[in-house]
């Protein structure tokens, strides 16, 4: 009897938590199709006019462009640097490899607010104030841990004998890395890239300290809209971002498998 009760409790908890996580997303999606400026239940029809208004939001395109730029550049740089650092940790017989790895991943555990203030003060202290560049460097701090963590785990499973095999088969050392290591680690690169891109794209707490009037990332701009005019346009935008993310994750899952998406270990 006890076990049956326990199973029921677990199921209720699981379903309840899933609903708790998913329902707000469904509400925002529903709200984006609301025919009236104020979202009311029950729905009295559907309209896509809010989607049309996204493009006309004040400063929307520059912010979207900025966020995409920062996310793409920081992800690209993190993929290269994070992978090299991960190789050093996984392969190089560094004395303090463990400590180094922890340090590299530590921004993940740091509150974004603290990170933002620290970076702002730090950049000011050294006279580094160009907004676009400071944002990029700050986002490197955000994205690097995701890449490093994923690549360290990926490399831990990588058999470096593959490189030796390629060399004895006629490949130069750099050639072996490109022809064998990079393709073998492709799933890890993909996962690292996606998490890194998403972490940068939706970051608010760090960006807010480094943005200025002309350099505002999309999340900052969105919060500004909601303060100024809380109509369903924002819900429509959120729904688009959500849909984009879901498509990205589903496609990646098709490519590399869900079990490798969920975590960084086996």
């Amino acid at each position: 009897m006890m076990t049956r009760t326990a199973i029921i409790v677990c199921w209720v908890m699981a379903i309840g938590l899933a609903l708790f996580l998913v329902v707000p997303l469904l509400v925002i999606a529903a709200a984006s199709f609301s025919p009236t400026p104020v979202f009311d239940l029950p729905l009295t029809g559907a309209s896509t006019r809010w989607y049309g208004r996204i493009a006309r939001l004040d400063g929307f395109w520059p912010s979207l462009l900025l966020s995409l730029q920062i996310a793409l550049f920081s992800t690209a740089i993190s993929l290269v640097c994070g992978t090299l650092a991960a190789i050093a940790i996984a392969r190089g017989k560094l004395p303090g490899a463990g400590i180094f790895a922890t340090a590299l991943v530590s921004p993940l555990m740091m509150p974004g607010l603290v990170l933002g203030i620290a970076l702002l003060q730090g950049f000011r202290a050294v006279g580094f104030t160009a907004p676009w560049a400071t944002l990029l460097v700050a986002h490197l701090v955000i994205t690097l841990p995701y890449v490093a963590r994923t690549m360290i785990a990926g490399l831990a499973r990588f058999d470096f004998t593959l490189i030796e095999a390629a060399r004895t088969l006629g490949c130069t050392y750099p050639g072996s890395v490109l022809r064998v290591m990079v393709p073998a680690l492709a799933p890890s690169f993909l996962i690292a890239g996606i998490f890194s891109f998403l972490a940068s794209f939706d970051n608010y707490p760090v960006s807010i300290f480094l943005a200025d009037v002309r350099t505002k990332t999309l999340p900052i701009r969105m919060l500004q809209y909601i303060e100024e005019a809380p109509d369903p346009t924002l819900a429509a935008l959120s729904t688009l971002i959500l849909a984009g993310t879901v498509i990205l994750l589903v496609v990646s899952d098709r490519v590399v498998g869900l079990h490798r998406m969920a975590g960084t270990s086996d």
Partner: protein, 359 residues
Amino acid sequence: MSESSPHLVVRGVSKRYGPTTVLDHIDLTIRRGELVTLLGPSGCGKTTLLRAIAGLVQPDTGKVELAGRDITNVPPHKRNVGVVFQSYALFPHLTVAGNVAFGLKVRGMARREIDIAVERALALVKLGHLAGRRISALSGGQQQRVALARAIAVEPDVLLFDEALSALDRKLREEMQVELRRLLQDVKATAIFVTHDQDEALTMSDRVAVMNKGRIEQLAEPRELYLRPASLFALNFVGLSTRIAGTVLAAGNGKVDVETRVGRLSALGNFQAGSPVIVAARPEQLRLGEQGEANSAAGRVRSVVFQGSRTLVEVDAGAGESLLAELSGRDGAIPRLHDEIRLSWPVAETFAFPMEAQA
């Protein structure tokens, strides 16, 4: 090039890692078409020697020549060697055919020629039907064959096997040993195997190099290695034996008389009187009962292990010494546990080794 001319020559190769000497002036000459095993315990340097031949380890001193070419300073990708690794090291992102084609593509071979060569290599290892499979969809034995096909496909001057069969289960391994030897002989490959498995070494090779502490202790044909071990280490590492400690009483004509705790024994060897030695004999040389001029010792049967065609009998000869006999039921009854028996064996099959060489 004739069959007997040296094909691979290793001359005075040494390698140190910090204070550890891994290879200590190794000399090794292998003929074309010969199958040679480097046999030894872990840490004896056998894998390092193989990697030095492949170019994955740069020796501190010495030279390596392959097919008449000095390759000491040639990088691995220009050596034309084929390596089968213990982990197989198959490329997970490529199919079976893609793995086998890898070395040929890198060499810039034409597509049609590659297809033909891949097909031939896969047919050789009987995997033609799996050409399009992913590596992860193969069993361990199949992966082993793909690794072999990949190494053979590039037609290397020498094939190097680094514990290549050790990951297979026993039955499959024994089948592969026989099949691999036949296959390598068919394609007239020159090959070096690294293993710690004496059965594999005896089955696969034309000659076996027993390695210990960075040196080759003995390089001999399997039969000679077993019947005439050159050192106590070689005796211990290949096959079973009875070993009894003693002191040389008298010597002459390549024979010694040795005083031991189980009585006086005679053995082959050249030692000065008074030298401490180990007297040894293979278990199949020991027979029940007395024989004319032979060595003999008596004791109580400690264990009897039935092994099919033969029975392994261990006898407690007293004073901490024991005798090991492998008896076939044909020459008489097999003794029972706790029986008092006498065993004898020919002097000509009794070895003596210096005591201090004992590892």
